[in-house]
């Protein structure tokens, strides 16, 4: 199980990059550039609140997992 936890750490790191791309390119920027006031609010929330949280949170979580911080003896 410890090995699986560490290996999945790589997946969380990659997922954080994918989430960054998806949140910025598919959600955030198109909304910011749409010119509509409602979209602007939505875009700002996605780009400046949701994206940093998901990306940094998943990246740190993945880093911890990869370094064995969630191994059984460290829990």
């Amino acid at each position: 199980m410890n090995l699986l936890k560490r290996l999945l750490g790589v997946l969380w790191l990659l997922l954080s990059v994918a989430a960054a791309y998806f949140c910025i390119m598919d959600f955030g920027l198109p909304k910011l550039n749409s010119g509509k006031q409602d979209d602007l609010v939505f875009g700002i929330i996605i780009l400046f609140i949701l994206t940093p949280l998901i990306v940094s949170g998943l990246a740190i979580f993945g880093y911890f997992a990869l370094n064995g911080e969630y191994d059984k003896n460290k829990m």
């Binding site: 929330i45 911080e69 829990m75």
Partner: protein, 497 residues
């Protein structure tokens, strides 16, 4: 271990739950009245745009919750649980009452939406501080092996708050004419809040501090800097992240899908009449609420993780079939019309004709369609202004059952979560540490669900996807799947306090 008075715990539960219920009530009436509020405060000729505006404000109310969690969580770990969650109660009550007092956009212009936004943000901050305090306060009074059961009473308050808000709105609507409700009656649910908050404040004022916190304080074991200890130390930070990604993130989207997306979906995608949706949801919530306590109790017996993960798994697997069935149950294009009536009305000043069509279907469903035709313009097709469907009694109970199943998933993931979070962190930093992942998971991942899912549905509709109405579910399905995998692999059953 601190000795707890089990007999007195009902008093603790009542005082905590009542205040938390009122805070949820305050928070939800804004969402439940979103459509009315959008017409009063958000200037727009396009009702959808106005509605999205309100959703954005709704999301803003959720987005600030983590900041409330940090601010009040820190305070709760420094000065105590009791005074902190009394402050959040007063802040919430005051903000809610004032929303009900703001003149509309037509009277004071842009100041109106600005004030609403500020008060909505204050509501979010207060709620961010309230939940962690109430859950911690109850858990610290409860016997260790019954924390799941006792804290599950706090868990019922979120659903009960929504239920009460729907009932207050329904009663207010039924007592007033449609015109009176639209003019001033929508303010009544906001005003009622101040009375409830005052009563709850008086009850909470008489309560004593939590025994675990009082003991820690007497021994000088409270934290000097809860924020630094919670998030600056690797050992605790890794549990904050695990709580977020392995539990609260998935729990948040399951919760908001079962309660809010189901409501939005029935109103805006299925076009079911608004008050009927409120009734359907109210019954499903009422029937589902006892299961919070059941799953909280069960989590004391078989563990929190199994129940929460099972709830997420069922949600991931069953959301699409459930929503497809809901949509098809009411979809009038599959039904046979047995009677049609129509009435026309002419607005002579604007030269616009308004026609109302009533369709009765063989299964008892009734649809009302209002079509407008601009007589000033040649060769312009009539425009459908609104469609409203009244579901037949037989289908009504079927819909209630389908919503109830979703509420059941909510009870599985949400019933044990307070005890789970409390047991993950030590007393000295518990309020701060548990509040943040809870409110990021619920406030941000869950709170943004209506806006993101509406966006996905609209996008799919514009692209001509025949199953556009199911596309909004991808967000909760993906987020809950991710949380399920992380929870299954990384969470263990240890209590760390």
């Amino acid at each position: 271990m601190v000795k707890t008075d089990t007999k007195g715990i009902w008093k603790v539960i009542s005082a905590s739950s009542m205040g938390t219920l009122i805070e949820w009530y305050d928070f939800y009436i804004f969402g439940s009245l979103a459509v009315v509020i959008s017409t009063k405060f958000f200037p727009s000729d396009n009702p959808t745009a106005a509605f999205l505006s309100t959703l954005a404000t709704f999301a803003a109310g959720f987005v600030v919750r983590p900041f409330g969690a940090l601010f009040f969580g820190r305070l709760g770990d420094l000065i105590g649980r009791k005074y902190t969650f009394m402050a959040t109660l007063l802040l919430m009550g005051g903000a809610t009452f004032l929303i009900g007092c703001i003149p509309g956009y037509e009277t004071i212009g842009f100041l109106a939406p600005l004030l609403v936004l500020i008060l909505r943000l204050l509501q979010g901050l207060a709620l961010g501080g309230e939940y962690g305090g109430a859950a911690t306060y109850v858990a610290e009074h409860a016997p260790v092996h019954q924390r799941g059961y006792w804290t599950s009473w706090i868990q019922t308050t979120a659903t009960a708050g929504l239920f009460v808000s729907l009932m207050v709105i329904l009663i207010t609507r039924s007592l007033l004419s449609e015109e009176a409700f639209d003019t001033w009656g929508w303010r009544v649910p906001f005003w009622i809040s101040i009375i409830m908050v005052y009563v709850s404040y008086l009850i909470r004022k008489k309560m004593s501090e939590s025994p675990e916190f009082a003991k820690a304080k007497a021994e000088g074991n409270t934290s000097k800097n809860p924020l630094k200890e919670s998030f600056g130390h690797k050992y605790n930070l890794k549990f904050v992240l695990l709580a977020l990604f392995g539990a609260t993130m998935g729990q948040g989207v399951v919760w908001y899908t079962g309660q809010f997306y189901a409501m939005n979906f029935m109103k805006t995608v299925m076009n079911v009449e608004s008050s009927q949706v409120d009734t359907l949801l109210g019954i499903a919530l009422l029937l589902g609420t006892p299961f919070f306590v059941f799953f909280g109790w069960l989590s004391d017996k078989i563990g929190r993780k199994k129940i929460m993960m099972a709830g997420m798994l069922l949600a991931v697997l069953l959301y699409r079939p459930i929503y497809k069935t809901m949509y098809e149950t009411v979809n009038v294009s599959n039904k046979t019309i047995i009677k049609t009536e129509s009435y026309a009305d002419l607005n002579a000043a604007k030269n616009i004709s308004l026609a109302t069509f009533y369709y009765d279907y063989e299964d008892g469903t009734r649809a009302t369609k209002i079509v407008s035709t601009d007589l000033n313009k040649q060769n312009i097709a009539p425009e459908t202004k609104s469609t409203s469907i009244t579901v037949s009694p037989q289908n009504k109970w079927w819909l209630i059952f389908l919503v109830w199943i979703q509420v059941l998933f909510v009870t599985m993931v949400y019933g044990p979560i307070a005890a789970f979070l409390v047991e993950l962190f030590p007393t000295r930093i518990r309020y701060t540490s548990m509040s943040l992942p809870y409110h990021v998971g619920n406030g941000i991942f869950g709170g943004l669900l209506p806006a993101i899912s509406t966006y996905l549905v609209t996008n799919a509709k514009e692209k001509g996807n025949p199953e556009f109405y199911l596309e909004g579910l991808w967000y909760p399905i993906i987020v809950a799947s991710l949380s399920l995998i992380i929870g299954l692999v990384y969470l263990d059953h240890k209590k760390r306090n």
